[in-house]
């Protein structure tokens, strides 16, 4: 056995590192720098200017008018919508994974819903639908019930915000919960049912407690994303007289002159504190509870029969999917075909002029061009980078490898608006002077979506059998050659789907774009936000419709690649 050791590889490792090792080392160090440097420098400049620690930024932040109300509103909205999304996601995951109500289309599309119709466009669509007087759906409902001049529903309210938050958070909980349920051994459930529990009671008493880690992980993700959600409260909040922390930070950075970076950073630190508390709670729940272990590949589970109840159950799932995607899309489409927003429901006076405007208006057209270009470059670059880092982290054990591993996961725990504040503050200064540049946006997108790309790349890498790489090394191939000829091609199916998803994420990004983009080099998110303040609604709707079509196409490509990959694996 000892004789078969890949001698060339060992010798190579002992001797000077090859070009691949040097390049990946530089890349890894570069990623650590780009993620940590702006955050640390911002923290240093705000909380320890000139080396002297100060709490002045916190005093300043907590002295802001009505900041207590803002914090309370943020907590209320995020906690309520996290709770609701956990309930809905757990229900849907159970229906899809454990019962005969399973609907493949829901199982496939629900996790991708936030990508197909980005939250920003969903919020705009629902404003067109549920504004109290002029909302198209409200007009329809009033026509049906024959009552009043306003309502019955109002998107510009606390419940409107919770509704929108729940729509976008549910998929993030659904993903881990459905994965856990699909692998859970069903013997406990069956035992409960033999002992007289109905299907629903067995789910609540046995199934859900058994997947507590997945539920809490989903709830934690939803909570973190809820805190970071920016586009929904930005669009709906002002009319509802409700501010949340992410919007408050944005306003501190953009309204009035000069920007209040100190107070904004202090509020950002507060958000990170909330995330820390949630993380500690999650760990405590998972550690303290006794829960069933997920069975391995061989886990067997029978399907629970719901009888005729499976039809209403399926209907609820389909309605949820429509409410989160098709319905707001139709609202965007309808308004995009009108000269101006009107409460009249009519096909008269339909026009395509808003689409012409999207292409002739310099701001919207360059927004599309810049976003699509950035998304194309960023998704490929990000995925290749993530692949290199994933291989680097998983095939090494040194300190840098551990640091790189931690750093690539870090941006998922830090609010996007905080990262944007750090980037705009630090990289605007000499020697960088990158404010308003495409490269700063690209860099920010790479950092923001690094955890997501890394997760995909890591999964793609772990599915490759190490035998191939070992064989390559035994044959004397250097690391670079092994990566280029063996590892990367084998990871390709997983990476291709990841590129499509990354493309959609970057093209639809709004939080960082709102602070980092400028009208000189706008991106779609920035343009929509600017148009919301100073443009026409039909133009926003036309842009949103186009954006949704682009996103849906990319998601369809990702789904196709996923299916293609699954089919290829099955064939193999």
């Amino acid at each position: 056995m000892a004789l078969s050791l890949p001698v060339p590889r060992v010798r190579r490792a002992v001797r000077t590192p090859g070009p691949y090792t040097i390049v990946t080392g530089i890349l890894a160090a570069g990623v650590v720098f780009v993620v940590l440097y702006p955050l640390l420098r911002l923290a240093f400049e705000v909380f320890a200017p000139g080396g002297r620690p100060t709490i002045e930024p916190f005093q300043r932040a907590f002295a802001l008018p009505d900041i207590g109300t803002t914090i309370a509103n943020t907590a209320l909205i995020v906690l309520l919508s996290t709770g609701l999304s956990v309930v809905i996601a757990a229900g849907f995951a159970w229906l899809n994974e454990r019962t005969d109500a399973r609907l493949g289309v829901v199982a496939d599309l629900l996790p991708l819903m936030p990508l197909v119709v980005p939250a920003l466009m969903g919020a705009v669509g629902w404003v067109f639908l549920l504004s109290p007087r002029a909302g198209v759906l409200n007009v329809l409902l009033r026509d049906l019930t024959g009552g009043g001049e306003s309502g019955p529903l109002n998107i510009s309210s606390l419940w409107g915000l919770v509704f929108m938050y729940t729509l976008i958070l549910t998929p993030y909980v659904y993903l881990p919960v459905s994965a856990a349920l699909s692998q859970l051994d069903s013997s406990l459930e069956e035992a409960a049912r033999i002992n007289g529990d109905g299907p629903f009671r067995a789910m609540v008493r046995v199934t859900l407690p058994a997947i507590k880690p997945a539920l809490t992980a989903g709830a934690f993700t939803a909570f973190v994303i809820g805190l970071a959600t920016f586009s929904i409260p930005m669009i709906i909040g002002p009319a509802a007289h409700i501010d949340v922390l992410s919007v408050r930070i944005y306003r501190l950075m953009t309204q009035g002159y000069p920007p209040d970076t100190n107070a904004a950073t202090a509020l950002g630190a507060l958000l990170m504190f909330f995330v820390l508390i949630a993380w500690l709670l999650q760990r405590r729940v998972v550690r303290g509870g006794a829960y069933a272990k997920i069975g391995g590949k061989g886990a067997q589970h029978g399907t629970v029969s719901l009888g005729w109840w499976r039809w209403p159950a399926r209907l609820v799932m389909v309605v949820f999917l429509l409410v989160g995607s098709v319905v707001p899309f139709l609202a965007l489409l309808y308004i995009s075909l009108r000269g101006f927003w009107t409460a009249d429901l009519t096909l008269r006076g339909m026009t395509l002029s808003n689409y012409q405007d999207v292409f002739s208006n310099p701001s919207t057209w360059s927004g599309i061009k810049v976003s699509v270009t950035l998304a194309a470059i960023g998704s490929v670059l990000g995925m290749v980078l993530a692949a290199i880092l994933a291989v680097y982290v998983q095939s090494r054990t040194g300190l840098l490898s551990r640091v790189v591993d931690g750093v690539t996961k870090l941006p998922s725990a830090i609010n996007h608006i905080v990262i944007a504040v750090a980037f705009v503050t630090v990289f605007s200064l000499p020697p960088f002077r990158m404010y308003g540049s495409i490269s700063l946006l690209l860099l920010a997108y790479l950092v923001l979506f690094l955890p997501q790309a890394n997760l995909t790349a890591g999964a793609a890498y772990t599915q490759i059998s190490s035998e191939m790489m070992e064989a390559s090394a035994v044959s004397g191939a250097a690391r670079g050659r092994t990566f280029g000829r063996i590892t990367l091609p084998l990871m390709m199916p997983g990476l291709a789907g990841g590129v499509a998803i990354l493309f959609v994420s970057i093209a639809g990004e709004i939080t960082a774009s709102s602070l980092l983009a400028t009208s000189g080099r706008p991106v779609i998110g920035f343009v929509v936000l600017d148009l919301w303040t100073s443009g026409t609604f039909p133009l926003i709707a036309a842009l949103g419709t186009l954006m949704t079509v682009i996103s849906a196409t990319a998601v369809a490509v990702a789904l196709y690649l996923g299916k293609f990959r699954a089919a290829a694996r099955a064939r193999a």
């Binding site: 007087r133 510009s156 490269s439």
Partner: protein, 349 residues
């Protein structure tokens, strides 16, 4: 293959490096301003060939000015339209980072323009470089910036389909119970110009806090981020009237058949002002001065004022609204300090 992978990775790094290098248009050197007469300034400006103008004005105003200036001088105007706060952000970042892209800007927030003047960001202008300044009253001219326009006039916009008669055209009329729950409010926090509108009310001896409180008690149908979405919500029927009504964002909707009407508020008449300045480190120093000269000329003023429904400090010009009689202007520092109180009185916090 090893070489190919390494080359690809190196290429990736180079790409990233190149992207960051080409990201910003860094220009530290400032070519000089023509020292000869106005004709030589025009010749130097034509040689520069372009001027970059950041503006908060409506597209219709920007387009008209750009078309006329380009026709007159054959100089290209790279016009960038921005909202007030992003414009201030962008200009200050450009100046601080030393990569100044903007040559001339027009802006509505007096405090930003004054702060930049104190820091020496704007060029000091004289009549040799900008001869039209000679015709301007000292009330509107500072060494490095000019209050180039008074307006648009703030008032009440209303939906003619929903308000068939007697639109509320006075401050008192806005408190009529008829408008309860029917008012689309423009968020005073969005820009200093909006804050100024309500600050004039706050400090008015006849209106004051009492008026703001009663106005809040009317209950707002919705709160819009600016008068642009407010006008569209008004057209859609989300409310019957809108405060702060402004004509420029209403005009494109009226042109498309939206049933919108407007009346200006007077006594007091809150003034929206527009300031103009040339950057000290403008990349096109001659073209920027020529553009400024054009903005201050009767020709430029007439087009600007007509298109933005504003009054001109030059006085009566053909087709331009006259200067409001009870014009009130509040100091910018006071406006900024009063914002939390205004928000609180309007129940927005």
């Amino acid at each position: 293959m090893k070489r190919r992978v390494s080359v690809a990775l190196a290429l990736l790094l180079t790409c990233a490096g190149a992207l960051s290098a080409c990201g910003s248009d860094t220009t530290d050197s400032t070519p000089g301003v023509s020292t000869g007469d106005f004709d030589s300034l025009v010749a130097a400006a034509k040689k520069e060939g372009t001027v970059t103008w950041y503006s908060v004005s409506a597209p219709v105003t920007v387009d008209a000015i750009v078309a006329d200036f380009t026709k007159k001088y054959g100089i290209n105007v790279d016009a960038v339209r921005l909202s007030s706060a992003p414009e201030a952000q962008r200009i200050s970042t450009e100046v601080k980072s030393g990569s100044v892209n903007v040559d001339v800007f027009t802006h509505g927030d007096a405090s930003f323009v004054e702060a930049g003047a104190k820091d020496g960001w704007w060029a000091t202008l004289d009549t040799n470089e900008v001869p039209e300044l000679a015709a301007w009253s000292a009330d509107f001219v500072k060494p490095s910036y000019v209050n180039m326009s008074i307006g648009p006039l703030g008032g009440v916009a209303y939906n003619k389909d929903l308000v068939k008669s007697d639109p509320p055209c006075t401050w008192d009329a806005l408190l009529d119970p008829r408008w309860k729950g029917q008012i689309i409010l423009t968020n005073p926090a969005t820009t200093a110009a909006y804050t100024h509108f309500f600050d004039v009310v706050l400090h008015s001896p006849t209106l004051g806090e009492a008026w703001l409180t009663k106005f809040k008690d009317q209950g707002f149908a919705t709160v819009a981020e600016s008068s642009v979405p407010a006008s569209q919500m008004l057209a859609a029927g989300e409310g019957q009237i809108s405060v702060i009504g402004l004509i420029p964002p209403m005009q494109p909707l009226i042109d498309q058949g939206a049933p919108l009407g407007f009346c200006a508020l007077d006594n007091p008449a809150p003034a929206f002002r527009t300031f103009a300045a040339v950057l000290e480190k403008a990349r096109h120093p001659n073209a920027s001065r020529l553009f400024m000269n054009y903005l201050l000329s009767k020709e430029g003023q007439t087009i600007y004022a007509q298109k933005s429904s504003a009054a001109s400090p030059l006085g009566d010009l053909p087709g331009v609204v006259p200067m409001p009689k009870n014009l009130v202007i509040q100091p910018p520092e006071q406006v900024a300090a009063d914002l939390p109180k205004i928000q609180s009185l309007l129940g927005l916090s």
